[in-house]
Amino acid sequence: EQSLARFDALIDQDSRVEPRDWMPEKYRKTLSRQISQHAHSEIIGMQPEANWITRAPSLKRKSILMAKVQDEAGHGLYLYSAAETLGTTRDEYNEQLLSGKAKYSSIFNYPARTWADMGAIGWLVDGAAIANQVPLCRASYGPYGRAMVRVCKEESFHQRQGFEILLSLSRGTDAQKKMAQDAINRFYEPSLMMFGPPDDQSPNSQQSMAWKIKRFSNDELRQRFVGMIAEQVKVLGLTLPDPELHFDEEKKQWIHKDLNWDEFMAVIKGNGPANAQRLERRREAHREGAWVREAAAAYAAKQAQSEVA
């Protein structure tokens, strides 16, 4: 009882909960799921972009893209570290991912079909991620908040790079412009859905907000994001595939077209275009790396033994 009071006080005072602190089991579980999903998303999210590293059309872009995908592996690493402080190991989290039990951000189940997707993913997907994540830097759980600070810094860099890719394309040849517009057309709606279902259909959000894990509702964040990209797309001289999109001065909010939540649910359930491919690639890397990890462990054990002796 005293513990709970202390926990509630920490939350009330906008102070940080740390790994050593007592916390309600459901708080732990919620965070464990959320942080590990986030880590999984970074890892799976490497794949659509890795798909264009070997084919990047200039060495500069290749270099930037490699650095970005590598950053994502890094984000995965420190998010797993944050998640591990909740008492579950990285191997266990990884097992959840490989078995299909754990989720990751659904948007990575869409294929990266053209080079322009490197731009759209950076601008829209990373953009939505940042909108989601900036408030998480103040998340009540200390290790998560601190990990997010690092992640957000790099992500905003990535978003700018994505925007630059689209900007170059939009100022390029007709084929390049067309490629850029096509990528935006494909990623617009899925990126809006990255914030999750509308507030009235998102039952878990309330508790997360009470715990100060989440600071804004799905719809609030979506509003912020769609307003931002509605402005930025003008700089590109391109359009968002949403004729209904406008700012309603009365309601003081952005009105966008209805989103295809059926598709969203189908993708989450494993029926997206690339779910099977993404998971299999992860499993393959795990399977083919098994002998390496075993050898490294065997070697470490021998070393430990010889140090003892």
């Binding site: 084919r55 059309p57 060495l59 872009r61 490699m66 590598q70 890094g74 084929a175 075993e294 065997a298």
Partner: protein
């Protein structure tokens, strides 16, 4: 001069092809830490490629991208060792061991070049390659001494790749014409052998008794692997001639 540019091109081509190979590992490594490490290495090596190619291009009024994307296979001067497929992780590590020890000695020496640009690029590169070398050495020892399976895989990797060792140390006109500017590859061989032999010994591995391939990548005569690599690397750029990215 054209000759210095030709020499810079050989250095750039080796780095470019190796970077292309290494970059394939990103998102496929045996553990996340290696996604990061191999990605770092690929990124460093791509950086070296860009510096050398940019420098080479100055002599011919060409950009790094002109050289990377718009040359044909027979115009590339890369060594066969860097063209070899990644294979399993152990093959990549042995290729890294062979190449990074070589590049480390080469760049160290090149910091003394009378060509200031080559010296400057090498001074930066040598620090990074020193880390690549260390990474390859640590993994060679770990896998050589790890399990029976990993040791067998490492022996196999050595057998596959050793035939491309001689080519690295062959002096060509491009080296011989540039006294005090270029490094004669043959001059690096003794130190290279000493170093790699010691690492293999630590790993419980041996230099394999393989033949040596008649490989003349410096003259544009490449292994059958390079064509595939270039087709993939160049496909997008070539679909949009003249485009900026």
């Amino acid at each position: 001069s054209d000759e210095v540019a030709q020499y810079a091109l050989t250095l750039g081509d080796d780095a470019l092809i190796l970077a292309q190979r290494m970059s394939h590992w990103i998102s496929r490594a045996p553990e996340l830490e290696e996604d990061v490490a191999l990605g770092n290495i690929a990124l460093d090596v791509l950086g070296h490629a860009r510096s050398f190619l940019t420098y080479a291009g100055l002599a011919w009024d060409k950009t790094e991208d002109d050289l990377a994307y718009w040359r044909e296979e027979e115009e590339f001067t890369s060594l066969w060792i860097v063209e070899q497929p990644n294979g399993h992780f152990g093959v990549t590590i042995i290729r890294q061991l062979i190449v990074s020890i070589f590049q480390n000695l080469l760049y160290k020496q090149l910091t003394q070049s009378k060509d200031e640009t080559l010296a400057a690029i090498s001074a930066k590169a040598v620090k990074e390659v020193d880390y690549h070398r260390d990474h390859a050495i640590q993994w060679t020892i770990r896998l050589g001494q790890g399990t029976e399976e990993s040791a067998a895989k490492m022996r196999h990797a050595l057998e596959i790749l050793w035939p491309y060792v001689d080519e690295m140390f062959r002096d060509e006109a491009v080296h011989q014409n540039l006294q005090d500017i270029a490094v004669l590859p043959s001059a690096l061989r003794a130190a290279w052998e000493e170093e790699i032999t010691a690492v293999l010994a630590d790993a419980g591995l041996e230099i394999p008794a393989t033949g040596q391939a008649m490989a003349y990548g410096r003259r544009g005569e490449h292994s059958e692997h390079l064509g595939y690599l270039l087709a993939e690397m160049q496909v997008l750029a070539r679909k949009h001639p003249g485009a900026s990215w």
